[in-house]
Symmetry: C2
Subunit: 338 residues, 2 copies
Amino acid sequence: MIRVAVDAMGGDNAPSEIVAGAVEAVSAKPEIQVLLVGQEDKVKAELSKYAFSKERIQVVNATEIIATEEPPVNAIRKKKDSSIVVGMNLVKTGEADAFVSAGSSGAILVGGQVIVGRIKGVERPPLAPLIPTEKGVSLLIDCGANVDARASHLVQFAQMGSIYMEHVMGLKNPRVAIVNIGAEEEKGNALVKETFPLLKACKGINFTGSIEAREIPHGGADVIVCEAFVGNVILKLYEGVGASLIRMVKDGMMATLRSKTGALLVKPALKETLKSFDASQHGGAPLLGLKGLVVKTHGNSRRTEVRNSIIQCVTFKEQAINDKIQAALSTQNKEPHE
Amino acid sequence: MIRVAVDAMGGDNAPSEIVAGAVEAVSAKPEIQVLLVGQEDKVKAELSKYAFSKERIQVVNATEIIATEEPPVNAIRKKKDSSIVVGMNLVKTGEADAFVSAGSSGAILVGGQVIVGRIKGVERPPLAPLIPTEKGVSLLIDCGANVDARASHLVQFAQMGSIYMEHVMGLKNPRVAIVNIGAEEEKGNALVKETFPLLKACKGINFTGSIEAREIPHGGADVIVCEAFVGNVILKLYEGVGASLIRMVKDGMMATLRSKTGALLVKPALKETLKSFDASQHGGAPLLGLKGLVVKTHGNSRRTEVRNSIIQCVTFKEQAINDKIQAALSTQNKEPHE
């Protein structure tokens, strides 16, 4: 049995789509139990629309809501009865194995560190979304709030990302690369130049060198290491260019009568293709390196993404990812790498 | 009359496509004279395929070639008779107004600073490509080799970029934004936080605040300011996501017999749409802030991009961009901005 606390009040489509996703998750996987955290009356009203087994979904009352625009440190400190704080406390006390939220990224990142806490030896917990590529998915690590990272942080990101891709995604010996502005070892900014030799020397990862941003959508590496500012730019530009191009393709197909006729014939096949480039198919982004699991899903998540985010917690727990992270980091720390 | 020195030996398709582009440029614009710099026999052999007026295209012999993988500082220092060094010397001595090359980015950036030289007051010359958006084009500044930039550099990028967009691209009062990981002023890494108030205080630019990477393809700003590492990631990811998606759209349309039929009908309209998202339509990237003009075109440029890159030098000279840059920076420098 795995117990997942879910923030029923977080994101643009809360609570309706969150509750729907929770119901879908427990239907899909018999080993999941969900604790829906939020304003009891609202959550129960939504739940009443569905048939489900009562012991599989419970409601945990939390009267407050942290808004996206609230300064996160303050929000976590003051809103003790918010869905995020209450949900994270369930993980801290062991009443839940994981917490899934579509709410404020900042509050989730701060709460993860302050409430759930880091695994011993982890310097910074990275936020690591899966991004679609032509070949499948890659893990982009870090996209969190840890800007101005140090080289040692990036080495840990590479280690944690490798473990995640190997044991959660089932990819043997995942290729790790660092985002750089050229393929040669001497290229890069000060941070990349400092990190490169440390990654080369790091045991237990399959480091393949630098990756230029152009190669990311092509599937050039499985674990894409970068500091959070660059990671955030990559993640958001991915969404932006994708959305713009798809919009333009659609407009282009509506341009003439001839092309409109063609569009009708092309549509089903095209939809299937573009679906594989849709990030929401791949669940949420884990915040790695915490004592427990915290998963951030898109703010605009609908039931499918919520469902997938809950389901991904199962493998994470079954594979004892946190034990593996702790073991990897403590081995590395024993061997001086400079 | 404007004289453009063109690197006949630079890029994947030299000399044939470069020479063809030069011939097209002089046919298109009567005020252009081209100096084709490279191995005389090879260049003349290519030229012999075309009819053109002899006084409009001259060949300047340069026996050496700088390869893309050569360390740029060394290459510029040692290969005195390379097409890049000879071409840049023509700009330095005033024999040419501009130099266009599809060759080694590194060598062009180093040569621009060392041979052509910076305008007085310019701290770092940024490489500033135009990137396609849903609304037209935006200037991405800096995508050069100036990694680990300081806040004062970014302020100058904003000023130079504004002048370019207003006077070369003809865009009144261009919107300037800094690439950031959130829209709020308190967001960002140390560099962005330091730069933001300086941009706010900077006279003569229309600073609109932060831009998230997601908004760039949508046309969220006209001048996109960032340091070179981030700029390089944006530029290359743009190309990468675009190429992957277009490949997937094509594959998707070939998936079934039904969609293949549709593809035939859709193709002409779609091609027209996607053309507007093709960077090669917009010429090369100027290296701004130099005493003269240096334009870097894609390494895989074909005749159209070479032609456009040569033609864009006309407006640059006619509008006296360098005088405007010098005037803007000296005004700014007189007013302490902190």
